[in-house]
């Protein structure tokens, strides 16, 4: 009997994660092509269209960047928590609640000037996201309730909360019977950069840089890494795990909430329950692919943004945009598999199971 056995390489293959990334993504694209081919579509045509729609010209690039913003911030939110060994699966809900908070600010500040309103909305969104993460943070810090499940549950609660608002208290009186939230004031739209890109990209880059520096270089981030390695070591070094857990989950929620604010002010005309659009979940994959490092998150987010924008474009030729969803998951699976091959080698051991 021949048994496959994974043996750790004495030295991992040169190239490490980037190599795994390229290898894994190629495999994913190949599998995606196979899927398209089985479904009777032309893979080359689909991929070409996806590529030109996401990177083909400036306009395409701007669409990709717009998509990459919430992905990067959600990925950052997940990565911050993961540095301490915590799983924030609730970015989806935090984005949504952040957007809700921003919409609320917009109702209050209807008459404010543009810059003031935009800043207030983004700040509101940040607080909203932080607030949505506060419950799980307290439960985890004080009595050790598993944050994976609480944050997950709060995603579903956030969707229903927004649905309730739109159907009830916030129902647009001028909606002509449509169930929708009122339109945002015009001056709340984020100023543009080029084509469809808006300054949300700059905000995201700034947040990534500051938070990335905080996590990797500051003493606050050092404490975070210690706590992530072992809670007991953190206590030994005089770091309060409770305070750290609270701080890191709330910060994580705040970053996700900000994404909701940017999404609302940058790309939406009114609050909807789909404003988070799966970015929170995709952010987990983005963070995992970036090995939970803020520095890698931006890069992966742009790639995923491109895949999503590409996915939208192929509807025009009658191909389901679900292809792009499938591709995102396949890329993760491919990169994990390639990562294993980088660190391990496959040995086919002839197992002489028992005696001679």
């Amino acid at each position: 009997m021949i048994r496959p056995l994974l043996v750790r390489r004495e030295k991992p293959l040169p190239g490490g994660q980037p190599l795994a990334f390229v290898l894994g993504s190629s495999v994913a694209l190949f599998l995606g092509a196979a899927l398209l081919w089985v479904a009777g579509d032309d893979p080359t045509e689909v991929y070409q269209r996806m590529l030109s729609a996401s990177f083909g010209d400036l306009e395409a690039l701007s669409a990709t960047i717009n998509r990459a913003i919430p992905l990067a911030l959600a990925g950052l939110a997940v990565a911050i928590a993961a540095t301490m060994g915590l799983w924030n699966i609730g970015a989806e809900g935090q984005i949504l609640f952040g957007a809700t908070a921003a919409a609320w600010v917009a109702q209050i500040g209807n008459a404010w000037s543009g810059p003031l309103l935009i800043v207030a909305m983004l700040v509101g969104a940040t607080f909203g996201g932080a607030l949505w993460a506060l419950g799980p943070a307290i439960a985890k810090a004080q009595i050790g309730v598993n944050e994976i499940i609480t944050t997950l549950m709060l995603n579903e609660i956030a969707v229903r909360f927004v649905r309730y608002l739109i159907n009830g208290p916030w129902k647009d009186p001028e909606g002509f019977g449509f169930v929708q939230a009122p339109a945002l004031p015009d001056q709340s739209e984020l100023p543009g950069l080029f084509e469809r890109a808006h300054i949300g990209a700059l905000v995201a880059v700034a947040v990534l840089a500051v938070v990335g520096l905080m996590v990797s270089r500051s003493s606050w981030g050092y404490e975070l890494r210690i706590a992530g390695s072992s809670g007991a070591t953190a206590t030994y070094a005089g770091i309060s795990l409770k305070r750290k857990t609270l701080a890191v989950l709330v910060l994580s929620g705040a970053v996700a909430g900000l994404a909701g604010g940017i999404e609302l002010t940058g790309n939406a005309t009114r609050l909807t329950e789909t404003v988070s659009n799966g970015y929170g979940f995709a952010g987990i994959i983005v963070a995992a692919l970036a090995l939970m490092r803020p520095s890698g998150v931006a890069l992966v987010a742009v790639l995923f943004g491109a895949v999503q924008v590409g996915g939208q474009s192929i509807k025009a030729i009658g191909v389901s945009d679900a292809v792009s969803t499938v591709l995102q998951a396949l890329i993760l699976f491919g990169v994990i598999a390639a990562g294993v091959l980088v660190a391990y080698r496959l040995e086919l051991a002839k197992a002489k199971v028992h005696s001679l």
């Binding site: 270089r217 500051s218 050092y222 404490e223 890494r225 210690i226 072992s230 070591t233 030994y236 002489k352």
Partner: protein, 509 residues
Amino acid sequence: MDADPLVDPLADPLAVELIGIHKRFPGVVANAGTELKVKRGSIHAVLGENGAGKSTLMNVLAGVYRPEAGEVRVLGARRVFASPSAALAAGVGMVHQEFRLVPTFTVAENVVLGAATRVLHMGTVEKQVADLAQRFSLDVDPQRQVWQLSMGERQRVEILKALWRAAEILILDEPTAVLTPQEADELGSIIRQMANDGRSVIFISHKLHEVKQYCDEATVLRGGKTVASSLKVEDLTSPQLAELMVGDATHTIRRPEPTQACATLLMVENLHALNNRKLPALRDVSLSVHEGEIVGIAGVAGNGQRELADVIAGLRNALSGSVRLFDRDITNASARQRFRAGLSYIPEDRVGVGLAVQLSITDNAILRSYRQHRRGPLIATDRAKAFCAEIVSAFKVRAGSLDQRIAELSGGNLQRLLVGRELTAEPSVIVASQPTRGLDVQGVTAIQELLIDARNRGLGVLLISEDLDELLAISDRILVMHGGRIAAQYVGVDANRSAIGLAMAGEPA
């Protein structure tokens, strides 16, 4: 599973024969041509220092590891075990140091795991397990859940598991480490009964008196090689065994003259505390450590030593009582404040408490002092590295680069890094919990010398150890903990092994 047809299993007087076993792990050669012969119906000691390759060899015999070369013969037949269960099927059962039990299962469920009928009738199973336990005088209740049992009881469950699988050969890996001397004697009579029943027992130990007391023959390993094979234990004296075990590296620590006890550095009074399960772990503990003194704490694992160290170091809250450093009450101070006040701590779990395994050597070196290496809100990497380099060179930590993850360091180097970091801060008191456990001979000596040196410089050392020999060798005073209390106190020279043993069991003379 079938025996070699050419060999009559009953003709061979050997239960186990290991020939030229080689087993390598990345960076370590654990077995280099190790040999072992065990007679049927005997209790055979495998003796050696930590790191001599005992456990690896036994894991090879028990099917946990596959050797790169060598032959395993069990009851006369050559075997290649693909898994522990294959070894079990061939009659080899092993009781690991860390018990392999499911805490939420009952005793009966644990015993039959892996060898149960397709459909379980728990009543019948419990009855069968109770009968088996009775036959070998193993006192356990099959219906209780394992997490409620004492360590001694859990060990009996492990032995029952092997007997349930009809193991002919039972391997016990350092079985007495978690037992009181009295429980150990009970274990001795249980395994004697098994040997009389025709089974063979392999008893791994590095404690000479146990080998003398419980075993028939001994094989001594050193550095992965067999240095003496199947010696008759009754013909040997402990010093002879010791010499074989340690080889030329024999090193007796010269204990300096006792200093005239002067200022009290650490003072613990009427301390009460709970363990992780919220049960009382410390009951009215009082002790003091003076300048230039090593105070040893003896005791069987789980009698409050760990909690005592944690409470003193500020990792666990005291329910009542006080901890004073010089004249300062630090009972409610944080771990960081205590460290700043001059209290260093070498915790029992080096990796996981004292060191963060996923981080680099530098990150670990600055664990206590990172706030002093700041430039604004950021950590000044250059200063941190310089600080780390000092520790690495002063305490001879062998490392490739300072950015290397400490996961890649050996146990001895990890401990040098940890002890170095704690001593660099120039503390006045150092609490050291099991500081030499699991280290090789050089590592043990180096750490012990560092502690003695600290003592000679006037530091107070509180040394918590389960190794009585270590305590007897370097402590000025020995306190014995039992059931969360200080059960007895001995001053260096009058410390007497059997008296301490009785005190560890809660029966001070």
